[in-house]
């Protein structure tokens, strides 16, 4: 079977996209411009502007002279490529082999695809219908070669299908620019009056080569199918998803275990090939009665260790209720990150230890939740509650040193608790205090250490901290909030020293 090619041309690619975003511009002629060497040059136009005689690469001032009410917007240079790639990805439903030809052409290898739409004409009609519904104006053509399809698409009737062996007939009436030749060759052809392809297609190749060089022969051969034209197909992004249908509905925990292991094996093999590691993964179980059961796991480091990931799922198996049975398992890796198999992990023991610990933490957080695990780093604050912060990873380093010059209790109360005190004179540590109904006589005391509120974070009273020891040798961290002058004094216990 011969190769069949469909070419889709978007004459107003960027402006059509612009209209999709801003539908209010629909009935207004507008252009997209870019600053080029001190001038504003038109880079894209809509159909209405084209009707008024405006062309791409004109200077904006000239366009304004033609059409004073012209609307002007900015043009993004990266837009065509982004847009065309996205459209190509969408077109993967029509053919597995799609290449993009900048700035505005998609080339589809449709060999063996068209019968699924009931013939080539229906195939092209469907493409037209879908793109028109999106708001894109397209022209298309189908032929055995890219050259012919491209030429007919741009200069022939839109939607025409050139049958095998009829290329020469189709090309004869088209202008010489339809062959994708270099501008210098087209100039020469025009000078010699060879305006259509038909006027030189029958000339002997030696004569053409002598006058116009090798490239015209190559383009002709490509259009007629004598020479293969190679294009680079777009690589579609395949989601990290694995499916496992089961012959019989699965109802036992053992069956689920096997399913998870198989899926993880498949997923990790692909992750291995692409040097990726998994951060978040879901398992979706489709039950016989139509209910969908979902479980999710997360890791603190990218991982593609089947055993480790399985252990994370192991804790969740009991939550999966098979009921009548599960007929399909789908595993999606929702978040993946780069993970290179680094060699240093083999050499330094600490690196290996860290990954083992990270795996342990993943298991623990699977049961207790991520918010239950903390690693603390020093923070530059005097206020005790803010003197440390949560580290986000195992390898995060402290940006400042831990302070050891000020006395800090080893045990701290999450919220300071009110105590009753007896104080001889203001600014003195208490003689005795009552905490939870027990009276402690203060024998030794240090302080006060005044800690002011950080006004840029929080408003409130300062604290005067005292470190006191009672008659049994127990030590406490007490503070007075506020001063006696204001008459609003409260004493609190905040921690225990060793």
């Amino acid at each position: 079977m011969s190769r069949r090619i469909a070419v889709i041309w978007f004459p107003h690619l960027v402006t059509d996209r612009f209209l999709r975003k801003q539908p209010e511009l629909k009935d207004i002629p507008f252009v997209l411009v870019v600053n080029e060497r001190g001038r504003r040059v038109v880079k894209a136009i809509n159909a209405l502007a084209q009707e008024k005689g405006i062309r791409v690469d004109m200077v904006l001032a000239d366009c304004k002279a033609l059409l004073p009410e012209l609307t002007v917007c900015d043009y993004d240079e990266a837009e065509p490529k982004k847009l065309l790639t996205a459209l190509a990805e969408w077109c993967i439903r029509y053919s597995p082999f799609i290449s993009i030809d900048l700035p505005d052409v998609l080339i589809l290898d449709v060999s063996g695809c068209t019968h699924l739409w009931g013939g080539e004409q229906n195939y092209l009609n469907d493409i037209h219908k879908k793109f028109n519904a999106f708001g894109y104006t397209i022209r298309s053509a189908m032929a055995d070669t890219i050259g012919t399809a491209w030429a007919v698409c741009h200069f022939g009737n839109s939607g025409s299908i050139i049958e095998t062996g009829k290329e020469v007939k189709a090309l004869t009436s088209l202008p010489n620019t339809a062959l994708r030749l270099e501008p210098s060759i087209i100039d020469k052809l025009d000078k010699l009056g060879l305006k259509t392809i038909g006027s030189f297609i029958t000339m002997p190749s030696s004569a053409l080569k002598r006058r116009f060089g090798q490239s015209i022969l190559k383009r002709l051969a490509q259009a007629l199918g004598e020479e293969m034209e190679i294009t680079e197909p777009m690589q579609p992004l395949i989601p990290f998803q694995k499916r496992l249908p089961s012959l019989e509905p699965i109802r036992t925990a053992e069956g689920i275990e096997i399913a998870i292991k198989t899926l993880l094996q498949m997923l990790c093999e692909r992750l291995q090939q692409e040097m990726k590691g998994l951060r978040k993964c879901t398992l979706t179980c489709y039950r016989l009665d139509g209910v969908v059961v979902k479980t999710e796991i997360g890791t603190s480091k990218p991982s593609r260790n089947t055993l480790h990931l399985y252990k994370l799922f192991e804790n969740k198996i009991s939550q999966i209720e098979p009921d009548l049975g599960i007929e399909l398992f789908v595993m999606d890796a929702l978040v993946v990150e780069e993970l290179h198999s680094s060699q240093d992990a083999l050499w330094t023991v600490s690196g290996k230890d860290e990954s083992v610990i990270a795996e342990l933490l993943d298991r623990l957080s699977g049961k207790t939740g991520v918010q239950a695990i903390h690693r603390y780093l020093p923070a530059e604050h005097y206020w005790p509650e803010r003197s440390f912060k949560n580290a986000t990873s195992l390898s995060e380093k402290a940006s400042t040193e831990w302070r050891t010059d000020l006395p800090r209790p080893l045990h701290i109360l999450p919220v300071p608790e009110l105590i009753e005190v007896s104080v001889p004179i203001p600014d003195y540590p208490p003689l005795l205090f009552r905490y939870k109904g027990v009276i402690h006589n203060v024998k030794k005391a240090d302080g006060p250490e005044r800690i002011e509120q950080e006004w840029w974070l929080q408003q409130g009273l300062y604290r005067d901290y005292y470190c006191v020891e009672d008659e049994h040798g127990s030590r406490y961290w007490l503070f007075r909030s506020g001063d006696y002058d204001s008459g609003n004094v409260k004493w609190f216990i905040h921690g225990f020293f060793t």
């Binding site: 290996k352 083992v356 623990l364 695990i373 440390f388 800090r408 080893l410």
Partner: protein, 246 residues
Amino acid sequence: MRKVADRVMIEQLQQQIEKLQQNHVPPADQPLSIGLGIMEAAFPGKVFTKGAVHELISNTAEEATCTSGFISVVLGKLMPNSGYCLWISTVPRRSVFPSALKGFGIDPERILFVDAGRTKDTLWAVEEALKCNALVAVVGEITELTFNDSRRLQLAVEKSHVTGFIHRFRPKTENAVACVSRWKIKSIVSAAGETPGVGFSRWHVELLKVRNGKTGNWQVQWSPKGLEYILPEQIIIDEIDERQIG
């Protein structure tokens, strides 16, 4: 003659029993002591038993603090420069202030705090952590520990050689468990120093049980210089009942 033969036989049998029991005898190439001083003489082989589970009991908030302090000191000796430690506690009772840990010779960023939900989850987490041989030590704050549970923990460390500390705060009963030792730490009145005010922390360390060792009790002082033992003649409680304010 027969008596001598019997004695030799009994000695041989005892050695065999010790071999079977002491599956945590430190290998010869390890440094002999971890730096806890004369306290270590109480343990078999005169070295603090690593790769085993130690039990510590406290009954008041003050005792709990001293117990945490003592654990921190031992942790500081066990992981002087590298390694990680897991500190697992039941949710409402974790009160360790990370900023203060540096003062006990330990880097707070090398401790990973885990707040497990219920006692059952805490036990599970402690057991999982004790199985992980990449850790140096695991501290578990569990109130109630049954003999079977403690046996599970002991079996876990026998494979991984991680040192475990189980801190039991206000247990209902001080039941027998399979841990190698049982400690109680209380605070004692600090010494009046050259300057008035509160002196360095002083603890009364009690080793109530130790497998294949001798129990004992010591009075120690923790200061920036390290752990110092207070000899009996120095333990004179200050008779001067004056308030000292620094």
